[in-house]
C-alpha cells in the first residue's frame, strides 16, 4: 500500500524496517537518539532534524549516540562492518566528512580490493548535503565529486521520497561502503511511498520526465529544479527529458547515452562546484561515446566556483535555478 510520505519519513521507515529485518543493522551518530546521560526525556532529538525520531524506542540496542568524534565512530562503523555488523553511521552534514575522511577513502573504500577480494565492508554513511538552508560555507556543500572520485565507494543522492526509501534499503543490504547523501532541502518533499520494504538497484537512473528535444542529466535537488524548467520550456514548445541519476557511483551512462542519441542535446545540471564535477564527468562521457549524436555543444549548469555564501541574497544566486537551467536548454536549441 502506498501513501504519501516525506523524504524524511521515508528515511526513518527504511531504517526502521531494516533494523527490524536484520538485528546486525545498527545506527550510530551524534544525537540520533538524544538526551544521553541527561536528566530530561530520552529520544530527545532523534537527529538534528528529527529524522531518526522514534527509532530508539523500537530498537534500543541498535541505536547508539556517539561523542563528537567523527573519526572514531565512523571508523568504528567501518571496522564493525568488516566484523559482522551492518552499521549505518550518520554524519550530520557532509561538510564534516573532512574530519573522518581517511577512514572512508583509505580504509573502507580500499579493503575489498587491497585485500584481494577477501574483505566486505557493508557500511552506510549517511549525511545531509546541499545548499539553501542559509547554513553558510561549512554546512551547505554538495561535495559529491569527492566521493565519486574514489574507487570502492558507492555514492547515492536521491531526489524524492520513493527513491530514498528503496535506495537506502539497498544501501544497507549492499556489501560495499555506501555514501548516502540526503539533500536537506528535500526532506519535506512528499510523494507516494509503498509501506512494504523494497530495494532499488544501484546504477539505474530514472527518467523523471520524458521528452524529445533536449536531455537534462541531474540528481538531488536539481531534479525538481530541472522539472520546473522543463514546465516553463514546454510552454515555449521545447520538449525536455529529465534524467535523475539517483546513484552517482555506479553511474548509469547507458540511459544517458540512449537519451542523448534521441534528443541530440545535453544539459548537465549539478549543484556541486563546477570543476571535476558530476556535470563534467557526464559531459566528457557523452562527448566521447555519443559525439556523433550531438546537434549542439553540451551545456553545464552548476554552482559557481566559490564556497557557499551565507547571505540569502547570494545563496539564492549560488544554487542553479530553474531560470538558469531553462536558459541553458534554450542555448542548446539555438534560441
Amino acid at each position: 500500500m502506498a501513501r504519501t510520505l516525506s523524504m524524511k519519513d521515508a528515511i526513518n521507515e527504511a531504517l526502521d524496517q531494516e533494523m527490524t529485518r536484520d538485528p546486525t543493522v545498527i545506527m550510530m551518530g551524534e544525537d540520533i537518539v538524544g538526551g544521553a546521560g541527561a536528566a530530561g526525556e530520552d529520544d530527545a532529538w532523534g537527529g538534528v532534524l528529527g529524522v531518526s525520531k522514534g527509532l530508539y524506542h523500537k530498537h534500543p540496542k541498535q541505536m547508539i549516540d556517539t561523542p563528537l568524534s567523527e573519526s572514531a565512530y565512523v571508523g568504528a562503523a567501518i571496522g564493525a562492518a568488516t566484523c559482522g555488523l551492518r552499521p549505518v553511521a550518520e554524519l550530520m552534514f557532509i561538510d564534516f566528512m573532512g574530519v573522518c575522511l581517511d577512514q572512508i577513502y583509505n580504509q573502507a573504500a580500499k579493503f575489498r580490493y587491497m585485500f584481494g577480494g577477501k574483505a566486505e565492508t557493508p557500511v552506510v554513511i549517511r549525511a545531509m548535503c546541499g545548499a539553501g538552508f542559509r547554513a553558510a560555507a561549512q554546512h551547505s556543500q554538495m561535495l559529491t565529486p569527492i566521493f565519486t572520485h574514489i574507487p570502492g565507494l558507492k555514492v547515492v543522492c536521491p531526489s524524492n521520497a520513493y527513491d530514498t526509501k528503496g535506495l537506502l534499503i539497498q544501501a544497507i543490504r549492499d556489501n560495499d561502503p555506501v555514501i548516502f547523501l540526503e539533500h536537506k532541502n528535500l526532506y519535506a518533499s512528499e510523494c507516494d511511498v509503498p509501506e512494504e520494504p523494497y530495494a532499488i538497484p544501484f546504477g539505474e537512473a530514472s527518467i523523471a520526465r520524458e521528452g524529445s528535444d533536449v536531455t537534462i542529466v541531474t540528481y538531488g535537488l536539481m531534479v525538481p529544479n530541472s522539472l520546473a524548467a522543463a514546465e516553463t520550456l514546454k510552454k515555449e514548445g521545447i520538449d525536455v527529458e529529465v534524467i535523475d541519476l539517483r546513484t552517482l557511483s555506479p553511474i548509469d551512462m547507458d540511459t544517458v547515452i540512449e537519451s542523448v542519441e534521441n534528443t541530440g542535446r545535453l544539459v548537465c545540471v549539478d549543484e556541486a562546484n563546477p570543476r571535476c564535477s558530476i556535470a563534467t564527468d557526464i559531459s566528457a562521457n557523452v562527448a566521447q561515446d555519443a559525439f556523433g549524436a550531438l546537434k549542439a555543444p553540451i551545456e553545464m549548469v552548476t554552482a559557481p566556483h566559490s564556497p557557499v555564501p551565507f547571505s540569502p541574497a547570494l545563496e539564492d544566486l549560488y544554487i542553479p535555478s530553474p531560470d538558469r537551467i531553462a536558459a541553458a536548454v534554450r542555448k542548446t536549441m539555438g534560441a
Partner: protein, 326 residues
C-alpha cells in the same frame, strides 16, 4: 571602602559592559530569530559571558583566538564591532564578513579573532599555528582556542594539545563546559571525570573554574596567559558554565530536567552574580551599572536598525574573494 577586586573601577565597568553587550545581543537575536528576521543557524552565548570576558580582558589585538559555532560572545569580548556583527548575521554587505560568513563564521583578523567555526575542534590546530607564529616572530602574543565539552572529544583537539605541549607553545585550551553537546550530556560523552586529568595526561597544567564567576575566570586566565606569554607553555582551562538557551534557536530542550532553565536564570546568572559582588563590596553602584545597561540597549537597538536598513551584497560579490573563477 577598599577594592577587593583584581581590577580598578574602569576595568570592572569595562568587563560589565562587555558581558552586558553579549547578553543583550543574544537576547535580541533570540527574539529576532523567533520572528523570522534572521536566516540560518544561530547558537547563542547567553549565560556564558563571564568565561569569554574573563579571559579576553587579558588579551590584546596581537593575541589570537579561535572561536566556535557559539561565537558571538567571543567576538564581542575580543572587541569585534557589534554593528558589523549584527549586519553579518542579517546577511548584509556591511557585515563583518560582507554577508558571506554569517553567524557561524564571524571573524575579524585585525582584532585577533580568527573566526567562529562551523567545524567542531577546528580551531585548536589553527591556534597552535597562531602560537607558533608568535614564538617564531618573537612577540609575546598567545593563542587561545575555545571549544565545548562536546568538541573536546575531537581528535584535532587532542592532537593539538600534544603538539602544543611538545613545542611548548603559548597556546591555551579553553574548555567551555556547559554540560551539553546539543542534547547529549557531558556525563555520557566525556570518559574522564576531570579535564585537569586530561591536561596532566598531555603534560600541561589544567585548571577548572566556575565559569559563572567572572572573577574566578579572570584570575585563572591571568595566570595562564602570563605563563604562556613568558614562555611557560600551554595550559588547559575548563570553565564550567550554563547555556541559557537551547543548543540552537529552535531547540525544544526536552533533554533538560524540568525547571532547569528557570533555576539557571535565577541562581546562576553570571551578570547578576557580578553585579551583586561589585555592589555589595561598594566598589560600583547600581546607578553606574544601570547607565551601562541603558547604553548597551541603545547600541543593540541601533545595531539592529542599521543592519535592517543596510544593503544586501550584490550579485557580483558571489565570486569575489576566491582565487579561481570558473
Amino acid at each position: 571602602m577598599s577594592n577587593p577586586f583584581p581590577l580598578e573601577k574602569d576595568g570592572l565597568l569595562e568587563a560589565y559592559r562587555r558581558m552586558k553587550t553579549i547578553r543583550e545581543f543574544e537576547e535580541r537575536l533570540h527574539v529576532d530569530f523567533g520572528r523570522g528576521d534572521i536566516p540560518g543557524f544561530v547558537h547563542l552565548y547567553a549565560g556564558e559571558e563571564a568565561a569569554g570576558v574573563g579571559i579576553m580582558m587579558h588579551l590584546q589585538d596581537h593575541d589570537r583566538i579561535a572561536s566556535t559555532h557559539r561565537g558571538h560572545g567571543h567576538c564581542i569580548a575580543k572587541g569585534v564591532d557589534v554593528k558589523g556583527m549584527m549586519a553579518e548575521i542579517y546577511g548584509k554587505a556591511t557585515g563583518s564578513c560582507a554577508g558571506k560568513g554569517g553567524s557561524m563564521h564571524i571573524a575579524d583578523l585585525s582584532k585577533g579573532m580568527m573566526g567562529a567555526n562551523g567545524i567542531l575542534g577546528a580551531g585548536a590546530p589553527l591556534v597552535c599555528g597562531a602560537a607558533l607564529a608568535a614564538q617564531k616572530l618573537g612577540h609575546d602574543g598567545v593563542g587561545i582556542t575555545f571549544f565545548g565539552d562536546g568538541a573536546s572529544n575531537q581528535g584535532t583537539v587532542l592532537e593539538s594539545m600534544n603538539l602544543a605541549a611538545i613545542w611548548n607553545l603559548p597556546a591555551i585550551f579553553v574548555v567551555e563546559n556547559n554540560g551539553y553537546a546539543e542534547s547529549t550530556s557531558v556525563d555520557y560523552a566525556v570518559a574522564s571525570d576531570s579535564y585537569v586529568d586530561r591536561a596532566t595526561g598531555f603534560g600541561m597544567p589544567g585548571i577548572t573554574v566556575d565559569g559563572t564567576d567572572f572573577f574566578a575566570v579572570y584570575e585563572a586566565a591571568g595566570e595562564v596567559v602570563k605563563r604562556a606569554r613568558e614562555g611557560g607553555g600551554p595550559t588547559l582551562l575548563e570553565c564550567k558554565m550554563i547555556r541559557f538557551f537551547g543548543h540552537f534557536e529552535g531547540d525544544a530542550q526536552t533533554y533538560r530536567a524540568p525547571g532547569e532553565n528557570e533555576d539557571n536564570r535565577k541562581n546562576r546568572d553570571c551578570l547578576k552574580i557580578f553585579r551583586a559582588k561589585v555592589t555589595e563590596a561598594g566598589v560600583l553602584n547600581d546607578a553606574e551599572l544601570d547607565a551601562i545597561d541603558a547604553e548597551v540597549m541603545t547600541l543593540i537597538e541601533d545595531a539592529v536598525a542599521e543592519a535592517k536598513a543596510a544593503p544586501l551584497p550584490t550579485p557580483a560579490d558571489l565570486t569575489t574573494d576566491v582565487y579561481v573563477s570558473y
